[in-house]
């Protein structure tokens, strides 16, 4: 269905190729997963399928890409709209209209389909993706998962033979991600659609893949059976790493396969020694915090005490009040009731300058914090506004992400580099507590590991809101679960995440009932034996 024949591609002005010598064939009715480090060219590969590369991006394409027998060289994206449906990273940014039904119909209108056909397909798609109740809703009022499903639906109504998705679950909470993936699974199995997905959160998608394409940083690809390709790639979900560690052949990709093999490992490992992590003196105390927007109460009486060096993960569905709580704790956001004290001082009573020396916050869109034209200017500005000696911010940045050029525009950085820059800016005044809102979005496994290590090394008290259970398992010492603005669970990471399947990391699922959380823990235990 999709065929790449010796494809290479170089962006205009780029020093090296983004893709080189790619030979790839994806047969009809397969779900194919594209993996690779951040910046390896996954989006480029996906966009080459419908001709956005090179028609929209410019640049030089060598070789050829055939989709359903059509050459993308001679067919620009709009002419391929009836064969390839593309769903971008940020569904909201790709919406042309503002209501669900109109958005679903847009592609069909462009294709000039007759009205009765459009009516029929819109109804089918609404049912297929479980959107029927939302049909008249404005898109802006939908949750992230609903928006993602609308974006998938909008691509589906044109009845394309190929569906291409760029990180469809990275912004979603585990439950919403399941919904989207279940819908995709049904498309492949019931309708025989060919699906190509790029994703960083492999623990969510790898089990559904029929084939994995590993795109290495020099632009070449390795394609094949999921287990074997992932085992040799630098990015792999924990279950694959565990399989490699235990020497299982073939390497399992799903929890089910891994559990079948895990009996021996479970009995040989035994329970992990439970060590209560040391908690330092209390640096932040929040009591009965409430945040109300109009008639909606986003946070209802949350109390939280954080000790020095403690790393607290806030988890919970989209809209459970995590972000509101972080902003209220920092003092810049709204707080309708309750009290927050950082070393005895309420940060909300401070001026913004001293406030950031007490509590630092990295918001969900880290780019909002940046407004200058180069990385160097941002670093110098951060030193100035924190009253630190010159070079403090730059040194922090080099520690978090070495080798970011000084003269680069912040908008041109990769997700990981931009996050590192913003984190460095936030850490420059060395605040007592650091709050992070969804820090792992768009980061691959090695980048996440580096982030976790750097944060642990710096030793700040950290509160982070996230959906990323694997990151939590690896990094957090304590987990607080919010639902509807209230704390429903609070305890050490091991206790909380193993108690609920939605928040369980893969290793815990494989080795349940034993409360092992990460491959690293298991490896250390095996090595100590």
């Amino acid at each position: 269905m999709i065929r790449f024949e010796d494809v290479s591609f170089t962006y205009p002005g780029a020093s090296g190729p983004a893709l080189s010598g790619v030979d790839l064939e994806v047969p009809e009715g397969e779900l194919c997963l594209v993996v690779g480090r951040t910046g390896a060219g996954k989006s480029t590969l996906l966009r080459a399928v419908n001709g956005l590369v090179p028609h929209f991006s410019g640049g030089v394409l060598g070789g050829r890409v055939l989709v359903d027998g059509r050459d993308t060289r001679t067919n620009p994206p709009r002419e391929l709209a009836d064969v390839v449906g593309l769903v971008g990273q940020d569904p909201q940014a790709g919406f042309v209209t503002d209501s669900v039904e109109e958005e679903l119909a847009y592609s069909m209108e462009s294709l000039g389909l007759p009205n009765p056909v459009m009516r029929k397909r819109v109804e089918e798609t609404l049912d297929l993706l479980g959107l029927a109740d939302l049909r008249h809703r404005p898109l802006a009022t939908l949750s992230g998962g609903q928006q993602q499903r609308v974006a998938v639906g909008a691509a589906l109504t044109a009845h394309p033979k190929v569906l291409v998705l760029d990180e469809p679950t990275s912004a979603l909470d585990p439950g919403a991600a399941e919904d989207v993936l279940a819908a995709l699974h049904r498309l492949v199995h019931d309708l025989g659609m060919t699906v190509l997905i790029a994703e960083h959160r492999l623990e969510r998608v790898a089990q559904y893949a029929d084939r994995v394409v590993w795109l290495s940083s020099d632009g070449t690809v390795v394609a094949g059976d999921p287990g074997s390709v992932l085992a040799s790639a630098p990015v792999a979900p924990p279950v694959v790493r565990l399989g490699q560690l235990a020497g299982w052949e073939p390497v399992p990709v799903s929890i089910r396969d891994a559990r079948r093999r895990a009996g021996e490992l479970r009995s040989s490992l035994g329970s992990p020694a439970s060590v209560a992590p040391p908690v330092g003196a209390e640096v932040m105390r929040a009591a009965d915090v409430r945040v109300r927007y109009g008639s909606v109460e986003a946070v209802r009486g949350v109390s939280l005490a954080v000790g020095a060096g403690e790393r607290v993960a806030l988890m919970g569905r989209n809209g459970s009040g995590k972000s509101s709580l972080l902003w209220a704790l920092q003092g810049s956001g709204k707080r309708s009731g309750g009290e927050v004290l950082v070393e005895g001082v309420d940060p909300a009573s401070l001026k913004p300058g001293p406030r950031r020396r007490a509590v630092g916050l990295v918001p969900q869109q880290p780019g909002d914090l940046l407004y200058l034209h180069t990385v160097g200017e941002e670093c110098r500005q951060a030193d100035r506004e924190s009253g630190r000696e010159a070079g403090t911010c730059r040194a922090l940045l080099d520690r978090l992400a070495p080798g970011v050029p000084d003269d680069r525009h912040p908008r041109d950085l990769s997700e990981g580099q931009r996050l590192a820059l913003v984190l460095a800016v936030a850490l420059t005044p060395s605040p007592k507590v650091v709050l992070l809102d969804e820090p792992t979005r768009g980061l691959d496994y090695p980048a996440k590991t580096r982030l976790a290590e750097a944060l642990a090394e710096l030793g700040h008290a950290v509160v982070l809101a996230t959906h990323d259970v694997e990151f939590v398992a690896e990094y957090a010492t304590r987990v607080v679960v919010l639902a509807d603005g209230e704390v429903v669970a609070d305890g050490s990471t091991g206790e909380v995440v193993t108690a609920s399947p939605t928040f369980s990391p893969q290793v815990a699922k494989v080795l349940a009932p034993l409360p092992w959380l990460t491959v690293g823990d298991v490896a250390r235990a095996l090595a100590a034996r």
Binding site: F56, R78, G88, E109, M118, W327, D368
Partner: protein
Amino acid sequence: MSGAVHPGAWWLWALGLAVVASRATNPVVLGLVVAVAGFVAVTCRQDTPWADSYDMFFKFGLAVLGIRVLFHVLLGGVDGPTVLLDLPEVPLPDWARGIRLGGPLTAEGLVFALCQGLQLATLLCCVGAANALANAKRLLRSLPAALYEVSVAVVVAMTVAPQLVASARSVRRARALRGDVVRGVRAVKLLLVPVLEGAFERSLVLAAAMDSRGYGRHAGLPTRTRVLTGFLVLGGLVGLCVGAYALLDGGSAGVPVLVVGAVPAAAGLWTGSRRVRRSRYRPDTWGTREALVVGSGLIAAVTAVLGPDLVMPTVPLTAPDLPLLPALGLLCALAPVLIADRKKP
């Protein structure tokens, strides 16, 4: 959605009322127009962001009425024998000849100004009723296909505008995180740049999405149609130019030439529309209800045109009467209340 009357029908209905108002300075007739427009607007408006437009325009109309009267008091104009007040006249330099500041204020002049102001306010009320009743988004969907690109740009604008407001808010909050209190002129720069950068990135993402979804698959026009379109459009424009000149020259030919010029221009728009090969999902259709709504407005307009003079006599001052035929016509314009869907409670 399907239950609502076509927005174009509401505008034509409001245009009918506006025709009545434009011919009348009789306060009774004007009051009746305001009442009819207001009653229909309040009864038939749907639950849209524009539903409150009538109130807004009504208040605006009152303000305009006040300003018009103030103008008369200060700058004079039509006079009569009954002097109410003699304001001192301010002498103006020679170049400003013809402008009078101050001077006697007469009852006749005041009534005249009041009626003119009321006429203007009534016209505003008609526009307000149309704004409240017609769903602007659906009106946008009814633009001719030749304006497809422009209408997509407007649709995009309406989708993106609220997102930009949200993004400005989050940037502002983020600025506070860097220890800045953003105020004054500096705020424009500090807020605008991140919001704009974000907006432009968004525009590229959006453009890619539109491209992938078939935006701009043009059929291309056969040469004959293209030539015909050019001929019609340019011919029509020339006709309109000639008509405008004739109108300003004082000749009686102006109006007919303008109308004659408009026809090929509109036809050119129609033939040019065939360049866009696309269809409409659930297009707004014209049915009996639309015809009835437009018809009721048309009756009001026709009765006002055919009926007696609706001008308020000022010299000598007499009480305004209520001419029967236009009044009946205006009552017909209440028909949408019975025809159109009412707002759900």
